[in-house]
């Protein structure tokens, strides 16, 4: 028996990467800025996004959202209260969104065309592990962390924090009763992703939203 080595050198998630590259090209051609929001379950992605959509709509931005969950359309209904078009993606057990799911839900989204949007937000499935491997063609990956989760979360989930372009700390209104150690949290985020933009926010009081909305406007300026 003769054995030999055949070099393959191919990405395991090649199919997803190719689909994501196609999406990225479509987003760019349409001039829409796409953000992928990732966090643990319960961080407050939906509340933060709901406020973001509402405030952006009030400023005349054309915004829409895709939201991923294993089951239920509860989040889509909550987000739709902002008045922005929202579409739910149910993964039925899959722990992350992938590029194929995004493509399918963009196709045939009644009344929504990429060309008619300034911003598209994708709220990923609550999970700090698997979504980091799946490119959705987004321009900006936003990782969220709430004050109730523990300041060492970035150290525990370095893959996700290191792959993010911006970090949002949520629920700042209850930071004090939770004994949130702000300095340590900021230091840990910076240790894993040096120089990342960090926003300290509260969807309830609106704290930090001005700065976040300014960042979004600035980011889109770069795209166009």
């Amino acid at each position: 028996m003769t054995t030999r080595i055949v070099e393959l050198r191919q990405g395991i998630l090649k199919k997803n990467d190719e689909l994501a590259a196609g999406l990225r090209a479509n987003y760019a051609a349409a001039g829409v800025l796409v953000l992928n929001l990732v966090s643990s379950p319960g961080t407050g992605k939906t509340a933060f996004l709901e406020r973001t959509l509402r405030e952006m709509k009030a400023r005349g931005a054309r915004v829409a959202a895709l939201v991923g969950d294993l089951e239920t359309d509860n989040d889509a209904r909550r987000l739709a209260a902002s008045g922005a078009p929202v579409r739910q993606i149910n993964t039925h057990g899959i722990c992350h969104l992938d590029a194929e799911m995004i493509g399918k839900h963009l196709d045939g989204w009644e009344g929504v065309a990429l060309g008619g949007l300034d911003y598209l937000f994708i709220e990923n499935v609550g999970n700090l592990v698997c979504p980091s491997s799946y490119d959705l063609g987004e321009r900006i990956r936003v990782v969220l962390l709430s004050v109730t989760e523990g300041e060492d979360k970035p150290l525990k989930y370095p893959t996700m924090f290191n792959s993010a372009d911006a970090a949002v700390i949520t629920k700042m209104d209850i930071a004090e009763p939770c004994g949130f150690d702000r300095e340590t949290a900021l230091r840990n985020i910076n240790e894993i992703r040096p120089g990342i933009r960090i926003f300290e926010t509260s969807a309830k009081t609106g704290a930090g939203m001005e700065e976040w909305l300014g960042y979004l406007a600035e980011a889109r300026g770069v795209v166009l």
């Binding site: 028996m1 003769t2 054995t3 030999r4 080595i5 055949v6 070099e7 393959l8 050198r9 191919q10 990405g11 395991i12 998630l13 090649k14 199919k15 722990c95 992350h96 999970n127 592990v129 698997c130 980091s132 491997s133 150290l155 370095p158 893959t159 996700m160 290191n162 792959s163 910076n190 240790e191 894993i192 992703r193 040096p194 120089g195």
Partner: protein
């Protein structure tokens, strides 16, 4: 958490590549996995037998080569290897590093096959 789907796509990709080598048997599949690829090597190995079973890859070995994180340090002007993933600072000068050179790979490197043609 998604290791089974990862090894399943490895089996699919290798099966496709095997079309070019009719009659060959796969002895081993080698992967390159970055330390920041967010997969657990033990889980990949555990799932391998299940994913390969009943396919042309049944009985083959999965060999996972884990690659350390390599960052570019602007201060030193060099690519530096990190010892772990708890701090993204240059091990030489301590400067924070944000340009990754290696660490997120999730690739099929190569396969080892017994060559049916030469054997015949």
């Amino acid at each position: 958490m998604h290791e089974l789907s990862i090894v399943t796509s490895v089996v699919e990709s290798v099966t496709e590549s095997l079309a070019a080598y009719p009659g060959s048997r796969v002895l081993a599949v080698r992967l390159r996995v970055g330390a920041l690829a967010s997969v657990v090597v033990e889980s990949l190995e555990f799932c391998w037998e299940i994913a390969a079973g009943g396919t042309a890859l049944e009985g083959s070995r999965l060999v996972v080569n884990v690659l350390p994180v390599v960052m570019h340090c602007r201060q030193c002007g060099e690519d530096v290897e990190l010892e772990g993933v708890q701090s993204f600072r240059c091990p030489l000068c301590g400067a924070p590093c944000s340009e990754m050179r290696q660490g997120r790979e999730l690739e099929i490197d190569s396969i080892e096959i017994d060559d049916a043609k030469e054997a015949a």
